[in-house]
């Protein structure tokens, strides 16, 4: 029997507060990701001691790399917690990026109106994803795979039809440039978006009734339903969130690179769920945290930029990520076991 102080015994609580806090931390979904993030960071800090990984610029570089993935991963992670998958993020990103460029360049539509249209259109695709999954009860993996292909094809097709190419350059007025692609030194404003969206997700998950419903929907759909949780609404809202998040990254990238590209974003299709799982989200749903997903993205950023700084061939990144994914899944399974063990 392990000893844990009860709140009714203040004299013990004081003496044991640090261990108690540590024990609580170990039972959080992000416990494994926290240790992994620290370990990975220390490793690369050591491996790149000759170069400038641990510097303002190096830090900005890995944060940049984590941020755009992070914006999408947070939404995908929440959807995973609710027990569903969204692959369509990959092509929604590209379609948003090319639509923004074509709209502003070819049709001279105001950038803000165009951004609003692109986000609203993506929200509609997300809504349809959710509706189809709910109505047909088909696995979301298949439904959103279909959307992934469909939206990708439509994006490329319309782009070629209208412009004869799938990359369209664009210019952006200063305010929109600052909001979506502003820079402070080497750091992109996307980092700020990422942090704000993560904070919002943490608030929703931890501190709202809707957050409770997300966990319940993924944890036990029938139990959630019988408790009166509107599970269909929860899922559809999250499908909308993943679509809007990837659309936002599409907008950010188009403005950042001064060009829309219909084939952008395909890499996120699996990266986003991978970092969420590394961050402690249970692939089957019902468990995870925004902080964990954030740490998963940090790990991804540190590895992908860290390898670059070591001067090794960047082919190694995939090997690192593969190994880490496996380690993370095993570690998270262990920590979940700990959380479920009697105290």
């Amino acid at each position: 029997m392990t000893e844990v102080s009860a709140s009714s015994e203040p004299w013990r609580k004081r003496g044991r507060a640090p261990t108690r806090r540590l024990r609580r931390l170990l039972r959080r979904p992000e416990a494994g990701a926290l240790f992994a993030a620290i370990a990975v960071y220390l490793f690369f800090a050591w491996a790149t001691r000759e170069t400038n990984f641990v510097s303002l610029n190096g830090t900005a570089a890995w944060l940049n790399s984590a941020a755009e993935l992070g914006i999408i991963s947070v939404a995908v992670g929440l959807l995973l917690i609710a027990g569903e998958f969204d692959l369509s993020i990959g092509s929604i990103l590209g379609a948003s990026s090319i639509a923004l460029a074509i709209g502003t360049r070819l049709f001279h539509i105001d950038i803000w109106i165009m951004v609003a249209l692109v986000l609203a259109g993506s929200a509609l695709i997300g809504f349809l994803n959710g509706l189809i999954v709910e109505r047909t009860r088909l696995p979301s993996f298949i439904v959103t795979l279909a959307t992934l292909l469909g939206v990708s094809g439509a994006g490329l097709g319309f782009s070629r039809l209208l412009t004869n190419t799938t990359t369209v350059s664009m210019t952006t007025p200063p305010l929109a440039q600052a909001v979506f692609a502003g820079r402070l030194g080497q750091a992109n404003i996307a980092i700020l978006w990422w942090i704000l969206i993560t904070a919002a997700a943490a608030l929703v998950l931890g501190k709202t009734a809707f957050g409770n419903w997300i966990y319940a929907t993924g944890g036990n759909l029938e139990a959630a339903r019988t408790s009166g949780v509107p599970t269909a609404r929860v899922k559809i809202a999250l499908f909308v969130a993943t679509a809007v998040a990837s659309s936002l990254v599409g907008v950010i990238q188009a403005i950042e690179f001064h060009s829309g590209n219909a084939s952008n974003g395909q890499g996120y299709v699996f990266q986003a769920p991978i970092v969420a799982v590394i961050g402690g989200v249970l692939l089957g749903g019902g468990y995870g945290s925004a902080a964990g997903i954030f740490l998963g993205c940090v790990i991804y950023g540190v590895i992908s930029v860290g390898v670059f700084y070591t001067g090794w061939n960047t082919d190694w990144i995939q090997l690192f990520l593969g190994g880490l994914l496996l380690a993370a899944v095993m570690a998270n399974s262990y920590f979940r076991h700990l959380a479920l063990s009697a105290r």
Partner: protein, 272 residues
């Protein structure tokens, strides 16, 4: 018992068909305050269909459902809950990877207002959840943030039942609450059922465990092939009569006679 007040819930000749298959045939029964109705039946006897009608998952094909004397029509589980009928399912009662406080208030989260936001009051949720399960003798759990998966099966049932009662259930439908539990754990749940009865709640106790039914039930309804095979008050049947009925009655008697015949042959062979 006051027999002139209408029962909390009454079913009158309820039938239910699923695509031509008759799952329930003119089933009538009623539940009064402070009464434990044990609903017995083998697998496929229609117990779950009956529960689903009571809890608003299915509408009956024919027949009437009355709550405190008034005819009702439950289109969704929400309607049943609003009428004070709470169902605690064997496996679906709680969510293991969620905390005690979150489980307890799932679907009815207490919120505090912060400007335009309504935030989940986890401190209140944890405190009340712990108080409620303590009231039913679960003292081992001391942290509302603890995952429900750390609790035993019996404790989880208690949590679910305490939750239903906290939210004002007048009728509790317990679907096989003891069937997955060991002897000690089942005892906890049976004691809780008696405790709930003492508080004036009407209980429908669904089980195929005759011993558990006999231990707590006031009245008994046995379903066979979707129809009421027998309905009686406590002490009107013996344990073995009930067991007989459950096991399939005449078939079982025939089997027993056959087995007894073999025994007789064996003992006469010994004697010779």
């Amino acid at each position: 018992m006051l027999m002139d007040t209408p029962p909390l819930v009454e079913m009158r000749e309820i039938s239910k068909n699923f695509a031509g298959v008759q799952a329930l045939r003119e089933v009538s029964c009623s539940i009064r305050a402070g009464e434990i109705l044990a609903l017995l039946g083998d697998n496929g006897a229609g117990k779950s269909t009956l529960i689903k009608i009571l809890s608003g998952v299915h509408l009956p094909s024919s027949g009437e459902l009355l709550v405190e004397g008034q005819p009702v029509r439950f289109v969704s589980p929400r309607d049943a809950r609003a009428a004070g009928i709470a169902t605690v399912h064997q496996d679906l009662a709680t969510i293991p990877l969620m905390s005690v406080g979150r489980n307890f208030f799932l679907g009815a989260e207490p919120c505090k207002r912060f400007g335009p936001f309504k935030l989940f009051d986890s401190e209140f949720a944890n405190r009340v959840a712990l108080e409620q399960i303590r009231g039913f003798g679960i003292t081992r759990v001391r942290d509302g943030d603890q995952l429900v998966g750390t609790m035993s099966g019996g404790e989880r049932q208690v949590l679910a039942i305490a939750k239903a009662m906290y939210f004002g259930a007048k009728v509790l439908i317990l679907d096989e609450p003891t069937s997955a539990l060991g002897v000690k754990e089942a005892a906890k749940v049976l004691i809780l059922v008696k405790e709930a009865q003492k508080r004036g709640i009407g209980i429908v106790f669904i089980t195929h465990n005759v011993r558990h039914a006999m231990a707590v039930g006031n009245r008994f309804v046995v379903l066979i092939h979707g129809a009421v095979a027998d309905s009686f008050a406590r002490d009107e049947r013996t344990y073995s009569q009930l067991l007989n009925l459950m096991a399939g009655g005449e078939q079982m008697e025939a089997l027993e006679a056959q087995l007894a015949g073999i025994d007789n042959e064996m003992s006469s062979a010994h004697a010779a």
